[in-house]
Amino acid sequence: MTGGTAARGPLDGLVERVRRDPGAIGALFPAVGRTVGRGPGPSGDPDGILGPTVQDEARAALVSALAAALGDGAPDRLAEEVEALYRFGDAEEKRAVLRSLPVLPDGDAASRLTAGLLADALRGNDPRLIAAALGTPAAAALDDHAWRHGVLKCLFSDVPLDAVHGLGDRADAELGRMAAGYAAEREAAGRSVPDDARRLLSLTHGETEA
């Protein structure tokens, strides 16, 4: 490992190793907690639901290094490596891959990969993965139907809507209709309507948010 002076020292060393030997990322990526550090990132959320953790940010730096090392000429190889990081990742590593998707250079291979990983994350019930799938600009790859279902799933999975990237811009009348149905079901069952459901309703009725 190279001897940086600041706390970035260990991460700089890992980035350098991936640039020299892209295949090394398979074993460096899982070990980031031990080699670089752990903890909440700027969002203050240790579970990484409201924003990336320290490990997520370090892992995104490794994915950037991988993309740089492979260059523009190998988009398929890059997509393959990133897909394997996700496939063989534990939940924390999968979350980091999802949060890294925006650093991939644009192209067919990256689009296909993004669509596939977002769909996988939204199929499951792990709040960390649902939040990460909807939490970056990469969620633009979801079609409107899939995105709306993802947002609605947040209400069922304890994912706060603050975790959803660009919610105000993308929420539409159809999402409002779905949220209204959810609220009606809750009321019919004698249950309370969560604040986030009310927020969706107000967003999609053109009203200002509380």
């Binding site: 074993a27 534990d90 019930n125």
Partner: protein
């Protein structure tokens, strides 16, 4: 009595077992990757199993106040199936993960050339990843298999104190002792070791470098065999501190060499969900549609 079970296959056990283990003093364990009874037919089957060891099973144990670690490897039995051996290529991804504290179980089953190749390869992976090794010794032709095991360990250059040679009995204890490796005893009904025999071995050679495990799995086995051994030690005049050394400090010292032990206290019996799957649902099974 606090207990670290260094070899137990919790994937095959129930939530009742977790509760009884906690009540008996078990606070941490290592689950080595092994055969599932039903042969696997492809690497994907291993990947899903490994994912379970680092994911669902760790979560399940934590709900009962027990720290779950694992060892990852291609086991000797399935090293003989060319459809499975390909999993060796993906092992490095798993060996890099938090909570993976050893390479294992590796070793011999029928002492074939394929087993030896997979064993030697995985010893070199352990050296590369700075991990201890958990070695299974065979049921059949045990003494010969153990002797060959020690030769391969010596040839690997891994310091012997980083290698745990397991399932020992009266016929293999001395050669492993002489090698400097850590000595593992599986207290397993019928086939391996019993508490009273274990006590006699401890009386003869002392407590140094000895660990005791239940090796409980899907066979006739007892996840409380560690506690039973501690009780037998106390009955025979060993002190509480002696028991703590064998059942806690020795295994902790061995696996701490990985630098990846997680031993903070957990609060048992708390609620919570893993990947949307609550443990209560696992406890009170609902019929699936």
């Amino acid at each position: 009595m606090r207990i670290f079970d260094p070899h137990v296959h919790m994937t095959s056990r129930t939530t009742d077992d977790y509760r009884r283990m906690y009540d008996a003093g078990v606070r941490a364990l290592v689950e080595p990757a092994f055969w599932l009874g039903q042969p696997r037919t492809n690497p994907g089957s291993f990947h899903d199993y490994f994912d379970g060891l680092i994911g669902w099973e760790r979560f399940r144990a934590s709900r009962f106040g027990i720290r779950h670690h694992c060892a990852i490897a291609l086991n000797p039995k399935e090293a003989n199936d060319p459809r499975c051996a390909e999993v060796l290529r993906t092992l490095p991804r798993y060996l890099a993960k938090d909570g993976v504290v050893a390479v294992g179980e590796v070793g011999f089953d029928a002492m074939t050339a394929d087993e030896e190749k997979a064993f030697a390869h995985q010893l070199s992976l352990a050296a590369e990843h700075g991990l201890p090794v958990l070695v299974h010794t065979p049921h059949r032709d045990k003494a010969a298999g153990t002797r060959r095991t020690l030769e391969l360990v010596a040839a690997s250059g891994i310091p012997p104190e980083r290698v745990l040679v397991d399932h020992l009995n009266e016929t293999t204890v001395d050669m492993v002792d002489d090698s400097g490796c850590t000595l593992g005893f599986s207290i397993y009904p019928d086939t391996k070791m019993e508490p009273e025999r274990m006590v006699r071995i401890l009386q003869r050679r002392g407590l140094d470098r000895v660990v005791v495990n239940s090796a409980a799995d899907w066979g006739h086995s007892d996840p409380l065999a560690t506690a039973r051994t501690g009780e037998a030690m106390l009955r025979s005049g060993f002190t509480r501190d002696d028991v703590d050394r064998v059942l806690w400090r020795n295994p902790v010292e061995f696996f701490a060499r990985s630098g990846r032990l997680l031993l903070q206290e957990l609060a048992p019996y708390s609620g919570g969900a893993f990947a949307g799957n609550s443990i209560l649902r696992a406890q009170h099974a609902e019929p699936d549609a």
